[in-house]
Amino acid sequence: MIRTEGLTKRFDDLVAVDNLDLHVEKGEIYGFLGPNGAGKTTTIMMLLGLIKPTAGRIWLFGKDLSEDYFNIKRRIGVLSEFHYLYEDMTAEEYLRFFGELYGVEDIDNRIKEVLGLVNLYHRRKELLGGYSKGMKQKFSLARTLLHKPEILILDEPVSSLDPHGIKEVRDILLEENRKGTTMLISSHILSEIERTCHRVAIIHKGKLVAQDTMDGLRRKLTEETEMYVTVEGLTDAIVDALRELPFIRSLSVDGQTVTLRMDADKDYRGDLSRKIVDLGGVVLDMRRHEMSLEEAFVTITEKNINLLAKEGSAA
């Protein structure tokens, strides 16, 4: 649905986006992450044709934007970080204007639907200038969904919302995705990205340094896994036997719980379980500490890791 090849943008001496190859599949929620100034917004602006790339190509729905500008734009919904609205218009007037612009049919019902989604239908007659920041953000989402876009490009979609608002927006986005909408989400709220996105890409200093599922990222970033095993009838024999296993790197015991640091190349839970049971123990609980997206993000950006370059050299 969205594809870029060698996408590059230079501003004088600054390379804002450097040879970016993105590929967002149909129906996917794709997290697009990066520290401030990494080139995310520039990339989004280039996708939308608002900034001309210095080099490279972009395809949306398999077409270059210049091939079918108006029809492609009608099939995309964009929610930006800042909520620029005509504040002298009421919510209803504003949506009617955009509905007309996008050629939305049965506009009255559609306005009712989208304003209902964000719980603002009862305030449709109010001027947008009187809306709070959070309301403006939800209203902007309603405008973004008005024309039933097939691709949604969302830049910080929940940044001004309280926890209820965040959940509300998350549910709306997940529902839209269930209906088949492809999404590219850029956000600093990594927990939200982790919850909603199928795949994430990390851009750092203009370069794409990682692009994978969350599990894939974890696998690539962690050499060892931390496992917490609670055992009924934990004995020294069991502890010693565990320590002897070839994939165990270190081990500590706290009451009935054993904390194991082990190789991350494979899932060793079966081996652990069998060993404990063989020695008369009962496994009550087994939990693995999973690297969060935040940890992955910090690791990649602080240590300047380029997973894609690593993959390339490995291949």
Partner: protein, 277 residues
């Protein structure tokens, strides 16, 4: 296909802004001030002249105040045009429009159409005003159709000049200053040029400094005549006063060309400056 979509997009944008113009007090306040001021100033003076001298000899007494009023209204619309794009860029709403099916050509066309629609309101206002004033004063006004057509073309040139300046600037205040500053410069230039020419024609001996200024203005006047929308206005009204149909038609044609060139440059400037704040 894409031109039809562009026209549709421009029409929808123009409609929104025109509705906003109609529902806001700005245009009514400004037009009331302009027409009241012109009527009071010009007609009062003419009526005083009639009262003092018993008779005055003017070919078309309504034409000059008409051009004053339309000229000032066109300048007001020019200022509105000059801030239209820069204001939207400044507010960020321009970016949101361009997320959707809007491109620079449809956007500029929409802005132009909206200002011309607002000029339609000015025309209706002007026609009613002049009908009433001319009926009351009995001063009369002829060739109304010629005046109206010329006014449309001349205002179109002023509006497109405003749009061009707006497309070139990112801040509203800069657009206003640039538009008013340039028009003031053009006005001062033309007035000074005409004044010095008339002095020469009257046989007044000019000092070397004034001779130098006059020759400088003579040599640069053709540039101002091409760039300044006011000079198109002046040429048109002069042609109409003299009843020169050829010059009148030429004035319409040159105003139309000016409009097309200014709007085309606006699209170029717009693409160059971008839509972001």
């Amino acid at each position: 296909m894409s031109m039809a979509i562009r026209f549709r997009s421009a029409r929808i944008q123009a409609k929104r802004e025109f509705r906003s113009t109609l529902t806001g007090p700005g245009i009514y306040v400004v037009l009331s001030l302009i027409f009241f001021g012109v009527s009071l100033g010009y007609f009062r003076n003419r009526l005083l002249e009639v009262a003092e001298q018993g008779v005055i000899n003017i070919l078309n007494p309504g034409q000059t105040p008409w051009f004053y009023a339309i000229g000032l209204a066109a300048l007001y619309l020019g200022v509105c045009a000059a801030i239209s794009i820069s204001r939207e860029r400044d507010m960020g709403t321009l970016e949101v429009l361009f997320y959707g099916p809007v491109d620079s050509l449809s956007y500029v066309m929409g802005k132009y159409a909206q200002q011309m629609m607002a000029f339609g309101v000015v025309l209706v206002f002007a026609l009613i005003n002049f009908y009433v004033v001319n009926t009351v004063t009995n001063l009369g006004m002829s060739n109304v159709l010629g005046l109206v057509v010329l006014s449309i073309f001349l205002t179109s040139a002023i509006i497109s000049f405003g749009i061009l300046l707006s497309a070139l600037t990112k801040r509203m205040t800069v657009s206003i200053i640039l538009f008013l500053g340039l028009n003031l410069f053009f006005f001062a230039f033309t007035t000074a040029h005409l004044f010095l020419q008339s002095l020469s024609a009257m046989g007044v001996e000019l000092s070397p400094v004034f001779v130098f200024i006059r020759s400088l203005l003579d040599n640069t006047n053709f540039i101002v005549e091409w760039i300044s929308p006011l000079s198109y206005f002046l040429r048109g009204s002069r042609a109409l006063s003299m009843g020169d149909t050829g010059q009148y038609l030429l004035s319409l044609l040159s105003s139309a060309i000016y409009t097309v060139v200014a709007l085309a440059l606006s699209v170029g400037a717009f693409n160059w400056k971008g839509v972001r704040r």
